[in-house]
Each structure stands twice: as structure tokens, then as C-alpha cells.
């Protein structure tokens, strides 16, 4: 009941506030998860730190051939950035799948990541993209692969006082692309029942030279399926290779039964989605021109 | 005399008959007679019944006249959404 709202002007100030707070804190950027938590009474934070005044958090900037995406950049803003969409279409489409048009006006990929849900749409795509989170904290700034941020449902690896200020998605050589697909019962507005992000690199004749295949909502955190990548590296994603990829994905699933889906369903559909996402990424990378 | 069709689960109160005969000129009389002649029907009549007269369903309407050749069907009280 004694919640405070703060709107720091710098990242250091924000980290200081978060570190100094005794009780629960929440970082506010888009708020599409935080306000739902508050509404349900699930958390009663002592402090809400609105980071949107911090310089850079609302910007997408070019860096080393890739892009640095500020922590408060909304899905809608991301989708409007043509160069980013061209470089990492799968990452953008994953973020754009979160919630409604209204939610897109606010929701951020960092928020999606820090909510800690294994079903978060943007996370498999970011992990497939080898995205790096930049973290501000009481001891300064550090970078950390997105893959290492989630720990378990609702838990992330950030330490007291730390928060993410941006995500970096790297440069890409030619003949590369990515894609993300999720399964939901409706066409919109649902949480992913199972999802797959795939990032591919091809050589000049369309043979896959490297791949990252990541599944969501099939384990306590997203799963990087190395066997699935192996199944398609060296192939042109022929049926046999795709079948092997799907099999590897299903084998990597350790899902649960819940109100959104069954173990059986998630295991089966994970392979289907990975296969379909791989084909989309392959087409985008120019594999079938 | 009026022939009144009742629904199946009320037959326990009418010695198994699907149709009973009572002397009545309107619904009020009909319901009173049914309750008197077949006391087992009374709880259901008190909970509420509709009556269909020649295919038209009446939920309440004591003074609806019943002709000698009318088709009268007792139905549960209707509720809707």
C-alpha cells in the first residue's frame, strides 16, 4: 500500500533506486505485464521505477552492423523500423505477436524477457538471434546473452539493483534470416502454447551452414535445440532433414500439462512449428529463389 | 372433460398415465383439478408449469378458456436467457 513511483533521468540513478529499495520492485517500461501483476494483487511492489526518461531507452540505433534496441522500445515502434525488420524479421515478428494492437503500443522485448515466462514470444527469437542484453546495475554496466537471462518460470538471473537497458541484435552476413512461429488456439490475444524460433545461415547455393533452433513453452525456460540445428546444417532443408529437425525438437521438449495445452500436444506441435519456421527462414534467406 | 397430456416424469403421480382427464373450462380450473385428483402433481404445479393450448404455450394465464376438443399439454415453466 506504500508503493512509490519514481522516474529517474539516468540509468545509474535507476540502478541506485532499485538497489536501495528494501522490498519488491518493478521496472516499468511498457507496463503490459507489470500492471497486470499489480491488478491481480500478485505483487505489491514497494517501488516502481519508470525507466522511460533514461536517454536511449526509446531508441533503435545502428551498432556494428547490428542494432541496439532500447528497453522501452514498443513492438509497434520495432515493426515500423524497416532496416531492423529486414535484418531480423523473425525477432520483429516475434515481438509483434505479443498481445493486441493496444499492447503493441507499449509492450517491449525487454519486458517480455524479464517477465520470465517460458512462453514469452520474443525470447526464442532473441535466443536464436544470439541477442545480447545490456544490463545496468550498482556495479556498472555489463553484457549478457539473452539466453542466460531466464532461470525458471517467473525468475531471471539479474541481481538486485540490475535492470536491462537495451538488447543488441548482431550484424548478419548475406544469405541469412530468421523466423518465429507460435501456436495459439485463436488467431490473436493468446499466450503461446508452444513456439519455435529459427535462425539460419546459408551458403551461396542454399545449403545451410549454421542454424539456431529455439523452442518456447516446452520447458521451464526456452530450449536451444542443438540436435535440431545439426539435423539441418549441411542440407537444403529437404523433407528428410526437416523430419529429423522436427524429431529432434520433439525429443527436446519437457513440457507440462496446463490450461493452455497438454504434454502430448506441445511435444508434437513443437516439431511442426520448428519445421515451418525453418522453411520460412530458409525462404527469407534466399534458399529457394 | 379435457384431456391433458403430461410429461413423462410426472407419470409417477398419475398411475403411469401419459394423459389424464379432468373437468375444466380454463387453466385455473385445470390446475386445481389436477392438484386435487393427482396430489402427486402438486409439488410440480407449485414450482411452476406452462400449458400449451392447441400448440401455443402459455406460461401463466388462469382464465385462458379451454374448448372441449382443445389439445392441452402440461409443460415445465419456461425460463430463458
Amino acid at each position: 500500500m506504500n508503493m512509490q513511483y519514481a522516474r529517474p533521468e539516468t540509468a545509474a540513478e535507476a540502478a541506485g533506486l532499485l538497489a536501495a529499495a528494501g522490498g519488491t520492485t518493478r521496472v516499468l517500461a511498457g507496463g503490459t505485464d507489470v500492471l497486470v501483476q499489480l491488478k491481480s494483487g500478485m505483487v505489491e511492489p514497494e517501488l516502481i521505477v519508470d525507466i522511460k526518461r533514461i536517454p536511449g531507452v526509446r531508441d533503435i540505433t545502428k551498432e556494428d552492423g547490428g542494432f541496439r534496441i532500447g528497453a522501452a522500445v514498443s513492438g509497434a515502434q520495432l515493426g515500423e523500423h524497416k532496416a531492423l525488420v529486414a535484418l531480423w524479421p523473425g525477432v520483429v515478428e516475434a515481438v509483434e505477436l505479443i498481445g493486441s494492437t493496444q499492447v503493441q503500443g507499449r509492450a517491449t522485448m525487454v519486458g517480455n524477457l524479464c517477465n520470465g515466462s517460458p512462453a514469452a514470444d520474443s525470447v526464442p527469437a532473441m535466443v536464436a538471434a544470439n541477442a545480447i542484453a545490456r544490463i545496468e546495475g550498482p556495479n556498472g554496466t555489463r553484457d549478457c546473452p539473452v539466453q542466460d537471462i531466464p532461470v525458471s518460470p517467473g525468475k531471471i538471473s539479474l541481481k538486485k539493483g540490475e535492470f536491462i537497458t537495451s538488447i543488441f541484435v548482431p550484424a548478419r552476413p548475406k544469405h541469412t534470416s530468421d523466423a518465429y512461429l507460435r501456436f495459439i488456439p485463436r488467431t490473436e490475444m493468446d499466450i503461446a502454447v508452444v513456439s519455435a524460433g529459427v535462425s539460419l545461415e546459408l551458403d551461396g547455393d542454399g545449403t545451410c551452414t549454421s542454424a539456431r533452433v529455439v523452442l518456447g513453452a516446452v520447458a521451464p525456460t526456452v530450449v536451444l535445440v542443438e540436435d535440431a540445428a545439426k539435423a539441418i546444417v549441411g542440407t537444403k532443408l529437404e523433407d528428410a532433414a526437416l523430419a529429423a529437425l522436427a524429431k529432434a525438437c520433439s525429443a527436446a521438449c519437457k513440457p507440462i500439462d496446463d490450461k493452455r495445452g497438454t504434454v502430448e500436444f506441445r511435444t508434437q506441435v513443437a516439431g511442426v512449428l520448428a519445421k515451418r519456421a525453418a522453411l520460412i527462414a530458409y525462404d527469407r534467406a534466399g534458399g529457394r529463389t | 372433460m379435457v384431456q391433458v397430456k403430461i410429461w413423462g416424469s410426472l407419470r409417477h403421480a398419475t398411475d403411469g398415465k401419459a394423459e389424464v382427464e379432468v373437468e375444466a373450462r380454463n387453466f385455473r380450473q385445470l390446475l386445481d383439478r389436477l392438484s386435487e385428483d393427482y396430489p402427486g402433481l402438486r409439488p410440480q404445479i407449485e414450482r411452476g408449469v406452462s400449458l400449451a393450448l392447441d400448440g401455443m404455450i402459455y406460461r401463466e394465464a388462469w382464465f385462458t378458456e379451454i374448448g372441449p376438443d382443445s389439445e392441452v399439454v402440461l409443460m415445465p415453466f419456461m425460463t430463458g436467457g
Binding site: 496446463d258 | 402427486g40 392447441d54
Partner: protein
């Protein structure tokens, strides 16, 4: 009130599509809904709800809550009396549990405070000591003799022995010799079906504002389908006289049956009485799902016999419905409607209503019918597949028509089923080609429709305009339909009429806006009120002209001399007569009070095309057409709107909507995120074909249209999906995991 002899008359306004009178208010944000009311000094109330599915409430300690600054009162069931009327008692006990919490989310105590935030905080300080009891949420489990008993002593006299006390009703309908009927069949199919509980899903949560004053008077503003019914039950619970409790219905943000009863109003009244201040209550969406009235869930067995050429020889259905923690009557409606579309020599339906540890069911569009008809229509479709018959031919061959002895007893009068089926047969949709993984399904639907208690007051203003006061909240454009019928009857322009909804002290009793009754009953009363006003206006004209009242007729909005006096005087329009009303005897008004009957049953047929993704079990609805008999479509836009809205609710029911409980009997999906109502991108356009087979029981031939459209989608979708995937789907919703499992099982 029978169909006018001149029913074939050409309507000038009925059947047109003018803008609705409340349109501007609703597109500008000005319309006042339940949660929009405020009162000076009002308090905010919240309800503490049971975290358990079934638990004895050993004690409630509210001392800490009452000590919190800003908290003004706490109430529990102890603050209520014990109404003699069992209906009122159940409503009261459903608002706040008496002695035992009967379901997850059952109200236990309520607090009023100076702000919503303080009220919310106070709830955490109320200490409730529970003794958790075994629970049951599944209908078949709840019927077993050893099942946890939800309430004792609630069974009706004809429930057979050997069943749990949870079974409250047994019913049986039908006629003919089943055994002989099945013996005549070339093929018999027996199947079992299940449907999940669904929620009406109105977007406006329940809200009210109660103000009880120290002299015992009270005002209650609330969103409801029936302010008079709210008054009746609240007055009973509060021990008040009806005249002292004035209930005003706000604009209502959807109801579909779910706002035919109350869940919070008695609590707000009790808190207002206790604090001496106005009290506002607004339910959260979570509370709406947990503690209002979803539908029944069902478990059903259907057995049908058919000849090779598609004639049904016998039909039998056993229906088991659970309706939550209190007795309900819904299965009787299902058992009567299951086979309503068919002309059968031998038919029998059996129904059991069952209590479980779930929230008390409320009505939802054609309560009880959708699931029963889903089961029957699924089996009929399976016959068509097995015997290679055309599904519409089979329906036509067996269709109920005028003179058919209905499966629920009475003989049908004029009904529109055959015309509806013929319209579907002739429609291009029925012949359109289908691609791979696609399927087409169809189903008939039926609802009884009601009339009911209705009052209308119609005032002729001195400037020649007309004010109508009626007592049924307008959920889907009924003010427009009522105004249209008045304008038609009076012969004046639609925009000269304004219709408003009265509070309970401004008009006589009106039944709830339910049973598809409003356009029928209020329309009928409006037409009759207009005719009363016309009689007065004709009499005034006769006086002015100095001729006999009988020698005046009303045509085209004016009194005209007729008979021997025809042409002697210039006609006097409504405005002419109104302008001199003071001089000719005073204000002119017509009114009509009636308990309307003769609503006339309603039939519809739906066609659905779907495509199923064989790798994920996702179903996409590709095309959908609704055919329905409206008797007479007064405002066709809003008739189509009922057909489209009902169809989409049914599509949601068929595909994704369901109440999901865990092993502890706790509801898992109390929100719009996981209770998945259809969103815009899930759907195609919903095409509509309105048939007009006049209802003999209404002067213009109107039939209710609101409920029938939710009935056919369940089977239409199930039949389409079953045909698309080649597996018969017998459980709703056909959610992707269920569908994929069925597909995998096919081998």
C-alpha cells in the same frame, strides 16, 4: 394478441433500418453503463471470496479489517435474514455463503470503505477459518451415490433412488413406442457427448450503486436485464416493500441471460443500510468468471434409429447437466428441445439436473438447448455420412411442420423450419466447392420464445411527437424496434417517437429482457397502446367534427371521417389533434398491460465451412451462413445482429471456450486471456438470410430471434470439423489439443 387479419399489409416503416435512438450516446461515450454511476459521499465495496471449492466456514473475524482507517462496514450472511422464498434464499446464499462455501470464488464477506484501494486492503485483513471439504465439479461424478454432497435435501420428489443427493431434478419427455421405432430402423447409432461450461462473456462486468436512507427508502442503479426482477428479489432479501426500493436499469453492456439474476446488489444494499451512505460495487473480470452464472456443462447419450433412405424411426436422449452449487431447471429445457426439429413417431428424452461445486448457473441464450441439440444433430450427421445421404435432405425428410406433434408435447402451428431448410438448400453456400482438410457442417436450431408481463405507456405530446415508456433494458437495439412499431401503427415518422426505459416506480411490472421476448411482447403492448391512443384521438376528432366516434377511422397518421361522413371534413393529423388536446379533454395517452403469450417458436439452420490444420489441430472458420425465421423482421439490422452475435458465441463454445478446473476444484482461467472468446481475426463475415413466416400470435407476425442463433453452431462446427478430419468429434470445445489427439488416434 393474434396476427392482424391485414397481416399481409405493406409496412411502411417496419422492415426499414433507421438509426437507433441511443446511437449517438453510445458512439460518443456518453451512455451511462453500470459502473458509470456516482453518488455524493459514496463508498466502494468489495467481496472476499472463497479460495476453496467446498469448505465449512467455521468463523469470520473482521476486527482487523474494521480497524483499518477508511473501512466503514463489513457484512456477512449473518447480516441478512432468511427469506422464506427459496428462490430469493438461493440468490442471497449465492451472494454470500451461509455456513459453507460452495465453490471457488463464492462470496464470504464484503467490505465498504472510502476508496476501492482501502476496500481491497481490508479484504486481506478479514480472517476466515475454513474446514475444507471434498468437492466435486464433474457432472457424472456428482451423480454417483458416494459423491461429496453440495447441498442436502434439495432433490425433487421424482428423482429416482440410487443417485446422489446432488441430483435435484429428473424429467422425461416424449411419445410413441421407442422399441418399435428402433425395430424399424435399418441402422442405429449410439453416441455419448460432453460439453464444457461456458460463460456469456458480456464485456461489462456487473456493477451497481445502492443508496439506502434512514427512512427505509432505497434507490438502486444497476446493469441488469430486468430491473423489476432485481427489485423483487432484493426487496425479499432486504425485507423491504417493493414501492420503497426503486431500481433503475443503466445501459447494459451485454447480458445474454447472465444479467437475469443478481450477484452483488443485495450486498451493496446491505452495506448501504449498515453505513448510511451510498455504496458502489463493481465486479472485476476475475470475479465475473468465478462468481456469476456460467452455463451448465453436460454429459449426454443419444441413440437414433434411421431407415436406409433417411427416415428417423426413433430417437432417445439422456441428458445430464450440472448447474453449479444450487438447484437449477435447465435440463428440462434441453430435454424438451433436443428433438424439436423433427417429426417423430417415437421419441424419448430423459434429463437430470445436478449440483456441483461450481458457481450457480445462469441463463445463457436458449438455456439448455445448444448442448442437447448438438448431440442430436451430431448423430443425424453421422447417419448422413454413413448412409451416404444429403444432410439437408435428411432434415427436410424428417422436419417438424405445422401439425407435427412436437417431441415436447404440443402440436406445432405455423413454423418456419421447412422454409429455412429450403432456403439453405437453395443457397450457393451449400454447393460451394471445398478444398483439402475442409469440411462443411450444418445444424438445425430451435427455441421456444416467450412473451410475459409487459407494460407500455405511450404519450402523445402536444407538438405531435410521441414518448414511449417501456420497462425492458435495451440490449440489442430494441428501442429502435419499439419506436418503429409505434411509428408504423400511429402513421407518423420514426424520428417523432422516442422510447425510454422506465425505472420500477414509473411503470408496472415487466418481466426480464429474456426468452427473446422484448420485440415480441413490448412490441405487442406498444401496438396495442398506440391503438388505444388512436381510439382516443379518433374520439376527439369526432367531437370536433360533431359526428359519431364510430364514423372516424385512422389512416396514414390522421383521423378521417368515414361512412356517411366520408369527405365531409379535412383529415386531422396526430399533430392537429395533439395541438388541441387541452381544449378537447386533456392529454392523450395510450397504455397497455399484458402477460403476453403466443410468442411462437423459432427455428434456424446454420451452415459452416471449416479448415483444420492436420498438424496442429487448429480450426479456421472459412464461411458461415445463418438462416432463420424471424416471423417479421422489424429492424432487420438488429435481427441480423442477433443472428450473427449468437452464431459467433456458438462458434466460441464449439471451438475454444470452456471453464477449466484443476484437481482442487479451482477455476484455472478466470480471465479473457485464457477464457477464449472469439476475436475479430478468428472469424469470417457471418452471412444471414432472414425468413419471414409470420407468427400467428403477434399483430405484425413478430417472432423472438435472440436465442435460436446460439443453438446450431455447436453441431454445425462439430459436423464440419468431423467431416474435415474424418473423425467424429463428440466433446466440446474442440480445442486444438483435443482435435490433434483425435487425429493421431485415427492412425
Amino acid at each position: 394478441m393474434a396476427l392482424d387479419l391485414h397481416a399481409k399489409r405493406v409496412f411502411k416503416q417496419v422492415g426499414t433500418r433507421p438509426p437507433r435512438p441511443d446511437g449517438v450516446d453510445k458512439v460518443t461515450g456518453r451512455a451511462m453503463f453500470g459502473a458509470d454511476a456516482t453518488a455524493p459521499g459514496m463508498l466502494f465495496a468489495r467481496v472476499l471470496r472463497s479460495p476453496h471449492a467446498h469448505a465449512v466456514i467455521k468463523s469470520i473475524d473482521a476486527a482487523d479489517a474494521l480497524a483499518l482507517k477508511g473501512v466503514k462496514a463489513v457484512v456477512t450472511s449473518d447480516d441478512f435474514g432468511l427469506p422464506e422464498d427459496m428462490f430469493a434464499r438461493d440468490v442471497q446464499d449465492n451472494c454470500l455463503a451461509r455456513g459453507k462455501a460452495l465453490y471457488h470464488g463464492h462470496g464470504v464477506a464484503a467490505v465498504a470503505a472510502i476508496s476501492d484501494a482501502v476496500a481491497k486492503q481490508a479484504l486481506k485483513l478479514i480472517k476466515v477459518d475454513y474446514k475444507v471439504l471434498p468437492h466435486v465439479t464433474d457432472v457424472d461424478e456428482a451423480m454417483k451415490p458416494g459423491a461429496p454432497v453440495v447441498q442436502e435435501g434439495r432433490s425433487e420428489e421424482n428423482v429416482g433412488a440410487g443417485l446422489s443427493q446432488n441430483v435435484t431434478t429428473y424429467c422425461e419427455f416424449g411419445h410413441g413406442d421407442l422399441k418399435a421405432g428402433f425395430a424399424k430402423a435399418d441402422k442405429i447409432i449410439e453416441r455419448s457427448f460432453k460439453t464444457a461450461a461456458t460463460h456469456q462473456g458480456y464485456i461489462e462486468p456487473h456493477a451497481c450503486l445502492a443508496s439506502v436512507t434512514s427512512d427505509g427508502k432505497a434507490d438502486l442503479w444497476c446493469c441488469t436485464q430486468g430491473q423489476f426482477a432485481v427489485r423483487t428479489v432484493c426487496a425479499e432479501i432486504m425485507g423491504m416493500e417493493a414501492s420503497q426500493l426503486r431500481v433503475t436499469a443503466s445501459e447494459i453492456g451485454g447480458g445474454f441471460g447472465g444479467k437475469t439474476t443478481v450477484f452483488i446488489e443485495p450486498i451493496a444494499l446491505a452495506l448501504s443500510r449498515k453505513t448510511g451512505r451510498p455504496v458502489k460495487m463493481v465486479m472485476s473480470r476475475e470475479e465475473v468468471f468465478k462468481a456469476t452464472g456460467p452455463t451448465v456443462s453436460s454429459s449426454m447419450d443419444v441413440k437414433i434409429g434411421m431407415t436406409k433412405d433417411g427416415r428417423i424411426t426413433a430417437g432417445e436422449a439422456k441428458l445430464r447437466y450440472q448447474g453449479g452449487a444450487f438447484p437449477t431447471g435447465t435440463v428440462t429445457m434441453g430435454a424438451q428441445s433436443a428433438f424439436a426439429a423433427y417429426d417423430l413417431e417415437a421419441v424419448r428424452t430423459y434429463g437430470w439436473n445436478v449440483m456441483t461445486n461450481r458457481p450457480k448457473e445462469a441463463a445463457y441464450r436458449a438455456p439448455g438447448a445448444p448442448m442437447a441439440i448438438f448431440a442430436v444433430e451430431s448423430v443425424v450427421d453421422e447417419f448422413c455420412q454413413e448412409l451416404g445421404l444429403d444432410p439437408l435432405d435428411v432434415r427436410l425428410k424428417n422436419a417438424a411442420k405445422k401439425g407435427t406433434k412436437s417431441a415436447y408435447g404440443p402440436t406445432f402451428d405455423e413454423i418456419g423450419l421447412v422454409a429455412t431448410l429450403e432456403a439453405a438448400t437453395a443457397h450457393p453456400h451449400y454447393k460451394a466447392p471445398l478444398g483439402p482438410n475442409q469440411g462443411r457442417g450444418l445444424s438445425c436450431g430451435f427455441w421456444f420464445n416467450f412473451g410475459g408481463n409487459t407494460c407500455v405507456s405511450l404519450n402523445i405530446n402536444t407538438d405531435g411527437t410521441v414518448g414511449i415508456t417501456e420497462g425492458n433494458p435495451d440490449i440489442g437495439g430494441s428501442r429502435a424496434s419499439i419506436s418503429l412499431m409505434a411509428a408504423e401503427e400511429l402513421g407518423i415518422a420514426y424520428d417523432k417517437v422516442r422510447t425510454i426505459i422506465a425505472d420500477t416506480n414509473s411503470l408496472g411490472y415487466n418481466d426480464i429482457t429474456d426468452g427473446s421476448r422484448v420485440t415480441f411482447s413490448v412490441g405487442l403492448a406498444t401496438i396495442e397502446a398506440a391503438r388505444n391512443a388512436i381510439r382516443i384521438m379518433c374520439a376527439r376528432a369526432a367531437k370536433i367534427w360533431g359526428i359519431d366516434e364510430d364514423a372516424v377511422v385512422w389512416e396514414d397518421g390522421a383521423a378521417k371521417p368515414s361512412g356517411p361522413n366520408a369527405g365531409d371534413f379535412e383529415p386531422m393529423t396526430l399533430a392537429d389533434i395533439a395541438a388541441v388536446s387541452a381544449e378537447t379533454g386533456g392529454p392523450i395517452a395510450g397504455h397497455h398491460e399484458v402477460n403476453a403469450d403466443g410468442a411462437g417458436v423459432s427455428f434456424g439452420v446454420h451452415l459452416a465451412d471449416v479448415e483444420v490444420d492436420p498438424e496442429t489441430g487448429a480450426t479456421k472458420v472459412l464461411r458461415y451462413t445463418v438462416f432463420q425465421d424471424a416471423g417479421r423482421a422489424v429492424h432487420p439490422d438488429y435481427v441480423e445482429g442477433q443472428m450473427q452475435g449468437g452464431a459467433v458465441q456458438g462458434i466460441g463454445w464449439a471451438l475454444n471456450e470452456e471453464y477449466i478446473y484443476n484437481d482442487e476444484g479451482k477455476l484455472q482461467n478466470a480471465g479473457f486471456l485464457d477464457y477464449r472468446v472469439p476475436v475479430a481475426s478468428d472469424l469470417p463475415n457471418i452471412d444471414t438470410v432472414i425468413l419471414e413466416i409470420p407468427n400467428p400470435g403477434h399483430p405484425y407476425g413478430v417472432r423472438g430471434v435472440g436465442e435460436t442463433p446460439i443453438v446450431p453452431p455447436l453441431a454445425a462446427l462439430a459436423n464440419a470439423v468431423s467431416r474435415a478430419v474424418g473423425v467424429r468429434m463428440t466433446e466440446l470445445p474442440m480445442s486444438p489439443p483435443k482435435l490433434l489427439k483425435a487425429l493421431s488416434g485415427k492412425g
